[in-house]
Symmetry: C2
Subunit: 602 residues, 2 copies
Amino acid sequence: MSATEFRASLDDMRFVLFQQLKIQEALAGFEVYEDFDQDVYDATLMEAQKICEEVLHPINIAGDKEKAQFVDGGVVTPKGYKEAWNLCAEGGWIGVSAPQEFGGIGLPNALGLAVNEMFSGSAEAFSIYMGLTGGAARDILAFGTDEQKATYLEKLFTGQWAGTMLLTEAGAGSAVGDNRTKAVPSGRPGVYHLEGEKIFISGGDSDLAENIIHLALARTPGAPAGTKGLSLFIVPKFLVSEDGELGERNDIHVVGIEHKLGINGSATCTLALGANGPCEGYLLGEEFKGMKLMFHMMNEARIGVGAQGVAAADAAYQYARSFAVERIQGPDLDDIANPESRSVEIVRHPDVRRNLMTLKVMSETMRSLLYRLAYLMDVSLHETDEKAKKKAEGRVDLLVPVLKAHCSDKGFEMASLAVQVFGGYGYTTEYPVEQLLRDARISAIYEGTNGIQAMDLLGRKLRIKNGLLFMDWVQDAQKFVKKAKEAGFDEADDVGKAVGHLGATAMYLGQLAMKKQLKLAFLQASPFLTMFGTVLLGIEALEQAVVAKELMETEGETPLLKGKLLNLRFYTRNILPGAVAMGKSIQSGDDSALDASLWPLA
Amino acid sequence: MSATEFRASLDDMRFVLFQQLKIQEALAGFEVYEDFDQDVYDATLMEAQKICEEVLHPINIAGDKEKAQFVDGGVVTPKGYKEAWNLCAEGGWIGVSAPQEFGGIGLPNALGLAVNEMFSGSAEAFSIYMGLTGGAARDILAFGTDEQKATYLEKLFTGQWAGTMLLTEAGAGSAVGDNRTKAVPSGRPGVYHLEGEKIFISGGDSDLAENIIHLALARTPGAPAGTKGLSLFIVPKFLVSEDGELGERNDIHVVGIEHKLGINGSATCTLALGANGPCEGYLLGEEFKGMKLMFHMMNEARIGVGAQGVAAADAAYQYARSFAVERIQGPDLDDIANPESRSVEIVRHPDVRRNLMTLKVMSETMRSLLYRLAYLMDVSLHETDEKAKKKAEGRVDLLVPVLKAHCSDKGFEMASLAVQVFGGYGYTTEYPVEQLLRDARISAIYEGTNGIQAMDLLGRKLRIKNGLLFMDWVQDAQKFVKKAKEAGFDEADDVGKAVGHLGATAMYLGQLAMKKQLKLAFLQASPFLTMFGTVLLGIEALEQAVVAKELMETEGETPLLKGKLLNLRFYTRNILPGAVAMGKSIQSGDDSALDASLWPLA
């Protein structure tokens, strides 16, 4: 392979899915998955790989240069996007883990997220259109009436139509409660007329599908202020007749698109609703429950953004290692005193190996975390034992903000590290890493900035059931650490200590909150999330090593399995110590940034 | 001010120059600076500020979109670049710290670097042309014959001509010794014919000045292999007659330019030498001393790149704080339970304050380090006491790689943090932070990648005089820590401990090297540099706090002075603990990345 071509990390994906999580056994008991086995999962991965490598990666590079364009009041996607969309639609990739009765393939989320990772890694901008379509459909699946499901689901999951989510307004970004778009009853039951302007809408318009189904937050007359007064509406681009045929154009129009750092193939739209005529919207779920419904969609979207982070890190790793085994530069250090020494492949240089090792361990542990959460989603959806179901649900709830923020932060960092491995070449458009860097930067911002994730973790997730969700995680983590220690891993001690530090740090922040020192506590929200993420990935590294060691005993050593033992050593000695330092920083109680003398208002 | 306009941080610059380093007194004893006083320095800063804010920043934004273009075999710079060049040339800004006898203004480097920081912050791409011109001139100043000085210096320092440096070739990037460009004696004394191709040459061609003076590394016939066989040549674009008039076009031609992530106004050229006729070059200094001469220029260039990092961090800080006091979003945490609460300026939110504080402390401590090194350069050049001169020289030598790498790494990180403060807006081209992010990414790559800086620090600088250069720094640092402790700063203990850890870590790495475990030692070169940088900035924070406290006692409290005390608290509690963790990681002796099972060659 070359340092310009995308390659999916199929072997490592298989390791996580089939040897670590063992989804082919763990999910076999669920009725919805009884038709599937490892062969089906494997064939799916290979088919996705083929599309990503052969179709999506080429349009990703070209689409970045061409960009989505705003032409004659509509969005024109880059060359090849439409064909790729049709291919993905026909192949069932938009509804890969959607129910079969609504046109989906019905595969587990664990597999769906693996596919999602590949799509993001090969073509982030393009895959955003797919992700939002699936997300909008799943919200209708969860909360729609039978009629709404019948009208929209199959067409969305099969890609005949596309979907979006409309939250942000110029004055309402992180503060969703400040949404001002109005929804006035039209007189016809369930039908409202929407009026307002939404910004930063990914895929807000496109030429990919014949219709677009927007899910829009808006405020009904007399609704309370803030998030409690928001309702969610289905707003189609073209109205749909009772027999499902497309009718009149609805008055929702793109009025401009953003010029951006990256994901240039993905149109980021400003949409005007009801500016020139009625914009019909149909209430989804109950009035004033818009936030709850939006969060259902948002939770999935955040896992998807976590997948983008994993994808960016892995693509960064694969490009960097390909470059490092090809690029010849400078003599081997062992040969440095020899005046006749020749330049060697840069993979032989320790500093490059350190960068590659960082890329490897970060991408592999993040993948492990991502697939685990996806697997837990499957459990939370289909487990019949109520206790186990609730536990899985709670675990996903707790960890989603950490996955979203930590993986997106690290995905960007890893993209930057790959640029560094390429040196001057990495800064040019000749290699794909500069685009990767630009594209990866969005993930820390959208679907709730990482600052918002940190506040969600500290202010909501840690408080759920008086902290029991978190304490349950700590206990499970310590149980697992003990098991790993018994399996002969000294590194388990380091991980266990880090978990202990994390618990103590959470306790400290909880006490600040009880003492009403909210600002002091939230000053440490982001460091706490990063600390949590750092510990979580340490646990993933430990579990992967435990699994690898067992497999090596039965199946012998392979580079992949040995690599997992090396990952654990590298992570616990080079990365995990940072978590302990973060814990100390957080518990220092430093309030210097809150000092009133800083940054007075104009 | 608005969040889109560049503003130089004049107050903080003045604090460092006039209250912390007190250059108006410290340099007053040097004959070369006897005509200058604080008023002159101050007027210079204000004049530079004006140019940066009014002229350079506007062309920076426009130039990024327009980009340097390769047209009809030459480089056309973006609109406004030529006018800005003329303005800077006439104002003496290219030779601001060059000797007056050669057309310079003759100001100290301490002031020159402050000006440099402003120019980089307002227009990095444009200022690269200026920096390279001054750099080439100073190399001729240091090593040229009287005739060469007379021919080139004044024209370079006054911007009538521009200058460049030609090191990199397709097969010789980090490994300069693999340079293959040939220099064959022409028959005329001192005149050679050069033949080869150079890549990644910043300002390799442009329409800014009437001539370009290239300094090119090349290999004479029979020269030894590697760096020891390299010589440096002056290669003008247009030959220069004895009376200084421009003559024939020399056969050095730009054959293409790179398309890049950023610094789009700066042409990154591929140059062909002697492809279609003789390319005349004149030996600079002695044959085979090319590396030494190039390193003289390189050392200054690396300080300039450090200045770019400071500039990026400061610009990031200024944009972010301007945005944060204007942008209204979400209620104040103290008001969160009030259903009537209104959205407030985001500067009131703790997570935003934490980001701003990080931006503030990083940019201000990096500035402090930069100006200190610049001041030490002045001492090393003009001090008459030989011991003091040597000490200053050694200190600059030791710290240059740390300044270059740490400030460029952190400059990029801070640009990314500013993007985060802007949220979705930061990802659009509507605000200047996305360009800042792209432009800032180059600094970790060029003038020796940061990996090369780390190897220089560990492999060369730490070994000089058997480590005495470093031990001397440690002793001075501990002496200062003691003084700060006596001045009542408890944080001095934290800084002192960190210095101690750094010393022990250096010792550990030195022992590895003595045991010939070179690869194991160099695996930790980059973390060691980052640890050093983190400690260095802690010392700067401490010194600034000591100075501020003294001033507060005599002059009363000001936000700037109080901010220095807050900086110290924030840095020692939130950032410095990371250095201790790095020390532990480095000393863990982890060699996992060296395992032979990883990344086999194809």
